[in-house]
């Protein structure tokens, strides 16, 4: 295992009873900004819990910032700042006390933690609210407060769980700008769990897609986006079922569009477009339109995580909203 990598897992597996949360996950992430994407139950939270040593994996090895965390002997948590998705706010504390508490729990001396708390609250834009009690903070301010609590000890790696979750557009923009500024000016690494694809595009270079406990994709965000080039939208009449089956026989992936007569086809390796017409003719169908399918990051994600698992209405609604389905 490479000691200079951000995160390295080998054959990492974990299960809760009969439920396999992670299955033989092999990852090697280089320092930088990485997004962790996946549906609910994909294994993201389990992976984060393992990284934070909240649970011990049933199998496999994990190194984070060069430290083996399964052995638990290395104080790597001090180099990590974690911002949870939930609101773990200590009742009756004020803003600066909460951040200072986080610093002390990371190991800072009380005085040092208090001083640093004021400094970091100033940075995240909460200097005027720092003496307020936590129950007076809005959702947006709580998100920034949690970020301050993760940053207080100046960690090398930030693990952020849904940093823009629950924020209105203005709050989300503020948080993203803050993170962009932070990552650009400090060179810290980021591992971010999110459901918002635009956050990924704004903040991350690399993306890991988990699905049912397995890694479906790991690579640059740009590569994920470029995958759309192998996907076509077809309009056809006649024997549509036979045509779809003929396309499927070639090894490609066929999806039915919501509109009758529309097919989406992900072509197999070394495909010639003339094959569309040959197959249509042989199966009794007539192609009325053929074009490259427009697809954004979210649609690529759905495709990689078997969007057909979703209920039909949900799939069609969400994909249509993001430009996958077009009336043909």
């Amino acid at each position: 295992m490479d000691s200079t990598s951000l995160l390295e897992t080998v054959d990492l597996s974990h299960s809760f009873g009969d439920v396999h949360a992670l299955r033989q996950v092999d990852l090697s992430l280089v320092p930088g900004n990485v997004a962790l994407l996946g549906n609910n139950g994909a294994g993201k939270s389990t992976l984060i819990k393992i990284l934070l040593s909240l649970i011990q994996p049933k199998q496999g090895q994990v190194r984070i910032l060069g430290h083996d965390i399964v052995s638990g002997r290395n104080p790597v948590w001090r180099r990590i700042g974690y911002m949870p998705e939930t609101r773990p706010l200590v009742p009756l504390l004020k803003g600066y006390e909460y951040v200072a508490l986080s610093g002390e729990l990371y190991g800072m001396a009380a005085k040092s933690a208090r001083r640093r708390a004021h400094e970091i609250l100033n940075y995240v834009g909460l200097e005027e609210l720092r003496y307020r009690k936590l129950d007076e903070y809005s959702t947006g301010n709580v998100q920034r407060l949690k970020l301050a609590a993760a940053l207080v000890h100046d960690p090398e790696l930030l693990i952020l769980d849904e940093p823009t979750g629950g924020l209105d557009p203005t709050g989300r923009t503020r948080m993203l700008r803050l993170l962009q500024d932070l990552l650009r000016s400090t060179g810290k690494s980021l591992l971010m769990c999110t459901h918002l694809f635009s956050d990924v595009e704004d903040l991350c270079q690399d993306v890991v897609i988990l699905h049912q406990g397995r890694v479906r994709f790991y690579g640059p965000v740009s590569e994920l986006r470029n995958r759309v080039s192998d996907r076509y939208q077809l309009g056809a009449t006649g024997e549509l079922d036979a045509f779809a089956e003929a396309l499927r026989q070639t090894g490609g992936q066929v999806e039915r569009g919501k509109t009758n007569g529309t097919l989406y086809f992900t072509v197999p390796h070394s495909w010639r477009n003339a094959r569309f017409f040959e197959l249509a003719e042989s199966s009794g169908a007539v192609i009325t339109s053929l074009k490259m399918a427009e697809e954004d990051l979210q649609a690529s994600f759905f495709r990689l995580t078997d969007a057909e698992d979703l209920p039909a209405e949900e799939t069609s609604t969400s994909q249509r909203a993001h430009g996958v389905f077009h009336a043909g």
């Binding site: 040593s53 949870p84 939930t86 773990p88 002390e104």
Partner: protein, 297 residues
């Protein structure tokens, strides 16, 4: 002022400093827990209520040592509160009586503190927050238990030590300190038993029930229901050993053990059993509390 200006104005600065060993987090958790409690007005009300008994004992000691009361009135006053009639030192039973009495108001205070200091940790997802900062289960358990014990000690152990000191200051001779040091040791021992058992008990219950109403009902029931059952069984069978089912009586018997104030062999045996029962209950509570903290991910 735009937000981008805010970010530009306040640039991020790194932090370089030494981080302390993890054991310090126990102190941090204790400190924050107590700070949380001190910010509740109801805590100060219960604390004041609990200290009324202390003020009464304090006044009695003052009265019998400093005021020239008729000797019969003095004897009556002293024996009524468990002190030795000669008024030269605090009789051990006086301290047992005082600390056990204080313990009853402490149970009320703990029912309130349990939901705030332990229940909310589970309810609001604070255990994973602590653990994500590198704390082990034992750090959280000890941090919370020390905070709870401090609350109990604030109303039992510390006031009892003050009463002991008061006696010493009002006594005619410095020999008081040398002759009665065993009483101080017993006060500390009994205070530790009282603080430890009550802290573990309320922490375990609060970890599972989490909200104030169920915690208070269960906690107070633990001291009321077994007492009724123990009394009934003892009467029905004419066997006083049944009284050991009452945890509050066990705590009182443990006080006798700490101060070695037995008036009969039966009392000595009951004290031994009481210590055993309290030890088992405390260990069970500790196990349950630890298990709950461990399972909170």
């Amino acid at each position: 002022m735009g937000f981008s200006m805010l970010v530009d104005r306040a640039l991020y600065h790194g932090w370089e400093g030494r981080l302390r060993p993890r054991i310090w987090t126990v102190v941090t958790l204790t400190k924050v827990s107590l700070a949380q409690l001190w910010r509740r007005k109801s805590f100060w009300f219960l604390l004041a209520l609990g200290l009324l008994n202390f003020v009464m004992y304090f006044s009695i000691i003052y009265a019998v040592t400093q005021l020239e009361l008729p000797s019969r009135a003095q004897d009556n006053l002293m024996s009524r509160f468990g002190f030795r009639p000669d008024a030269e030192s605090g009789h051990e039973n006086g301290y047992v009586s005082f600390m056990t009495g204080q313990g009853q108001i402490v149970t009320l205070l703990l029912a309130f503190a349990g939901s705030l200091l332990v229940g909310s940790d589970f309810r609001l997802g604070l255990i994973p927050f602590y653990r994500s900062r590198g704390l082990r289960v034992r750090h959280i358990v000890w941090g919370k238990l020390i905070a709870m014990s401090t609350i109990v000690a604030a109303l039992t152990l510390f006031p009892a030590i003050l009463l002991f000191v008061e006696y010493g200051l009002f006594s005619a001779s410095h020999d008081y300190w040398w002759e009665n040091w065993r009483i101080l040791v017993s006060i500390v021992l009994y205070g530790t038993i009282l603080s430890g058992t009550l802290a573990v008990g309320i922490s375990a219950i609060s970890a599972y029930l989490q909200k104030m109403a169920p915690i208070a009902i269960t906690w107070i029931s633990l001291f009321v229901v077994p007492r009724i059952g123990a009394t009934q069984m003892s009467r029905a069978t004419d066997n006083r050993m049944w009284l050991l089912l009452d945890p509050w009586r066990d705590i009182r018997y443990a006080g006798r053990w700490a101060f070695q104030t037995y008036s009969s062999e039966r009392q000595e045996m009951q004290a031994g059993w009481a210590i055993l029962i309290l030890s088992v209950l405390t260990l069970l509570g500790l196990w349950a509390f630890r298990r709950k903290v461990r399972s909170a991910q």
